[in-house]
Amino acid sequence: MKPPRLNSQYIPLVATGVVLAVLYVTGGCLFPNFFSLRVLVNLFGGNAVLGVAAIGATFVILSGGIDLSVGAVIGFTSILIATLVEEHHVAPLLAISLALLLGTGFGAGMGALIQRFELPPFLVTLAGMFLARGLAFVVRPDNLGIHHPFYAEGINHSLALQLDSRVSWPFAATCFVALFLVALVLAHYTRLGRNIYALGGDETSARLMGLPVARTKIATYTIGGFCSALAGVVYTFTTQNGDPAACVGKELEAIAAVVIGGTLLSGGVGFVAGTGMGVLILGLIQTLITYQNLNSWWTVIVVGLLLLLFILLQNVVSALSGRLDNTARHG
């Protein structure tokens, strides 16, 4: 019996790549300046916050969980940094570190609740969402621009890479790409990463294989919290402000990006690389709809449809591999 050439779990990833390519080429064919460097840079820079958040969500979803607190944590982090820097004159790097620490701790706390008391992740992170959003408004009820030179001259000038006379690669995009690379290594080249896959693949088996299930689960939500906080930091980079109401519903976009990236929502199968592509696909859809001058609400509808498409694809794939198992057993 010869195994099939293309492993079924790569089908969604391939499909994601195909969709990305089709969207990009379509844009290029329809609009004369779509293949410009600027569009490419915008794609990364404009979706850096989403990208960072989605990478965190990838780990949580790979482990078989879900995190609804992403958007709220971004809002909390951004306003915390802005307030600390502008009103309390804390050094920006210190403020950023503090915010990252808090976000990470927040994730760890949710993970601990989920693990120790066997609570549903959905409810715990829902509570986390309410809590973080409320606390963001406690920190400061309205938005606040950050005028500290560290941001204006440091992050968005010195650290931005001038690509040509007009287009520069923003530091936020660098953060996204850097986190992406770190996440690739974490997912594929560390024991923790592989344990997360195993946990999402089959928790009982993972336990029987002697893997540290409890520790892995908490670690996953900790990573999620860190990424959300980092997304908040990147948000302050791209906008130079803090806003307690920022990124409402970002968690849904992140989950959409993860699913479109070929990760199974039930956990265990998926790729950080797919999430990267998923984020770019969402960005491309938005760009294309702006270019086509369509009502921007088409964006969410198209994303909804794409989501549906990928869920159905995953269904087909799992049905296929289910049959594969049967064939292997009986054939």
Partner: protein, 508 residues
């Protein structure tokens, strides 16, 4: 074969473990030597899996001592058990199907380089580990792309990858075909020669006699005995497993309890009926007013046959006739409409609706047949519940008691009531008396007879031969998922069944 002189590898003395309400193990001794394959045998509830789980650190024992290679051990987790050299391969391949073979072998202990997983090193190590079980495959492919047999060997390789001294195999062959079993045994023989102690749990007698050096039999959480395979005839093994004293069985006259002659027409006919990989061809017919037994050891295909008839799994071969009409049952709903009823052996997962009341549990199937829009009037529901509580002697404070608060025997009666309320033509009872007390058993047996007298056809599955012999007019015997005989009349004795189960060929 290992000599008696060699010191035991594993020595367990007086192992006790109880769960709320159940004593799973009571003072069990168990010894495994180096370089032997030791079969751990017993019917349901014998305590095999509890023993294994205690041994591998999943459960903490209540009492008893463990020694491995002379040193006292007390593993508190799977990881600790592995650390002292105890590795386990579970029945359902407990690996991660989506990950590659290499990862499954090395998960949690991957070779690293500067702290990062070394994939090349992992591949090499996996290839080496698989070589020990004589397997050469592409280890980078996901586990799920390989057959169950290969997955089983992968699990074995993973177990061996830590320097295992004691290897535990929990029903390793239940999903394998004959050739694959042969290959597995080849590997086991090799490992035995390397000096490993191997504990194997299995229900297949042929396989036990093919590979095991010694056998330990457990029953109801107690040790029955430890035997040299060569010195234990099959008949004796089987009788010890099912708890009938061999000499007593042979001597006892046939106990017939009003099995009577069937009154009705042939109701159910199975011809070459089966599903490859699940249960082989089965041929028998059942008349209205007749109780027919399905006998065989655990895993012999009894339950699988019942599930095929009831449409939980679809039959792939042969034919089933109901009342003379050929029929293909594809769902329990359809089966129910055809007048079939089935109580599952797995009361908790497939029987009771735990939080619902006795009344609701009883009327559920009837209501489902009536449909969503024709609710049974409350008075009728209560009348039905009361009627069956009376009829079956269900011991409950009342019909509104949540069924999970009832004892096992009473839960079983509630389930029986659920099906009787349907007034079915054919009732399939899968282990209706398991885990319930003696009094309740007798009541259920009596009930079965009265139902038969009313013209019901009953297919009775039980691992208690005494019960089968007492209650059935005919018994179909299954072994290793194939029908091996049908006993009736004077041939229908416990001895006869045991002999049929044990098979003609006594020599391994």
């Amino acid at each position: 074969m290992a000599s008696d002189a060699s010191a035991p590898l594993l020595e367990i003395r007086g192992l006790t473990k109880s769960f709320p309400g159940v004593k799973a193990l009571e003072g069990v001794d168990f010894t495994v030597r180096r370089g032997e394959v030791h079969a751990l045998m017993g019917e349901n509830g014998a305590g095999k899996s509890t023993l294994i789980k205690v041994l591998t650190g999943v459960y903490a024992p209540d009492g008893g001592t463990f020694r491995l290679g002379g040193a006292v051990i007390r593993p508190a987790s799977t990881k600790e058990a592995e650390a002292v050299g105890i590795s386990t391969v579970y029945q359902e391949v407990n690996l991660i199907p989506h990950l590659s073979v290499a990862e499954n072998i090395c998960l949690g202990r991957q070779p690293t380089r500067f702290g990062f997983v070394d994939w090349a090193g992992m591949t090499r190590r996996a290839v080496a580990a698989l070589a020990r079980v004589d397997l050469r495959i592409d280890v980078r492919r996901p586990l799920s792309s390989y057959s169950i047999a290969i997955q089983q060997l992968t699990a074995l390789a993973r177990a061996l990858d830590v320097s295992a001294r004691l290897l535990i195999l929990d029903e390793p062959t239940s999903s394998l075909d004959a050739r694959e079993v042969g290959e597995l045994f080849q590997v086991l023989r090799k490992l035995r020669a390397e000096g490993l102690g191997i504990v194997m749990v299995t229900h297949f007698l042929d396989q036990v006699y093919a590979i095991a050096d010694r056998i330990t039999v457990l029953r109801d959480g107690r040790l029955v005995g430890e035997y040299e395979t060569a010195k234990l005839p099959r008949m004796e093994l089987v009788s010890r497993m099912v708890g009938r004293d061999w000499s007593a069985v042979a001597a006892a006259p046939r106990a017939v309890a009003g099995v009577g002659e069937p009154t009705g027409e042939v109701l159910l006919e199975l011809r070459n009926f089966g599903r490859p990989g699940l249960v082989g061809p089965v041929d028998f017919s059942l008349r209205a007013g007749e109780v027919m037994g399905l006998a065989g050891l655990l895993g012999s295909g009894r339950t699988e046959t019942a599930r095929l008839i009831f449409g939980i799994e679809r039959a792939r071969t042969g034919e089933m006739r109901l009342g003379g009409r050929p029929i293909k049952v594809h769902s329990p709903r359809q089966a129910i409409r055809e007048g079939l009823a089935f109580t599952s052996e797995n009361r908790k997962l497939e029987g009771i609706i735990p939080h619902l009341s006795v009344r609701e549990n009883i009327i559920l199937a009837l209501q489902a047949r009536e449909g969503l829009l024709r609710p049974l009037p409350r008075a009728r529901q209560l009348a039905l519940a009361d009627e069956f509580i009376q009829l079956l002697g269900i011991s409950t404070p009342g019909p509104e008691q949540a069924v999970m608060n009832l004892s096992g025997g009473n839960q079983q009666k509630v389930l029986l009531a659920r099906w009787l309320a349907l007034q079915p033509r054919l009732l399939i009872l899968d282990e209706p008396t398991r885990g319930i007390d003696v009094g309740a058993k007798a009541e259920i047996e009596k009930l079965v007879q009265s139902l038969r007298a009313k013209g019901l056809a009953i297919l009775f599955i039980s691992s208690e031969l005494e019960e089968v012999v007492r209650g059935c007019r005919r018994v179909v015997v299954l072994r290793d998922r194939v029908q091996v005989g049908e006993l009736t009349g004077p041939a229908l004795t416990e001895e006869g069944i045991l002999q049929t189960i044990a098979g003609a060929s006594h020599a391994p």
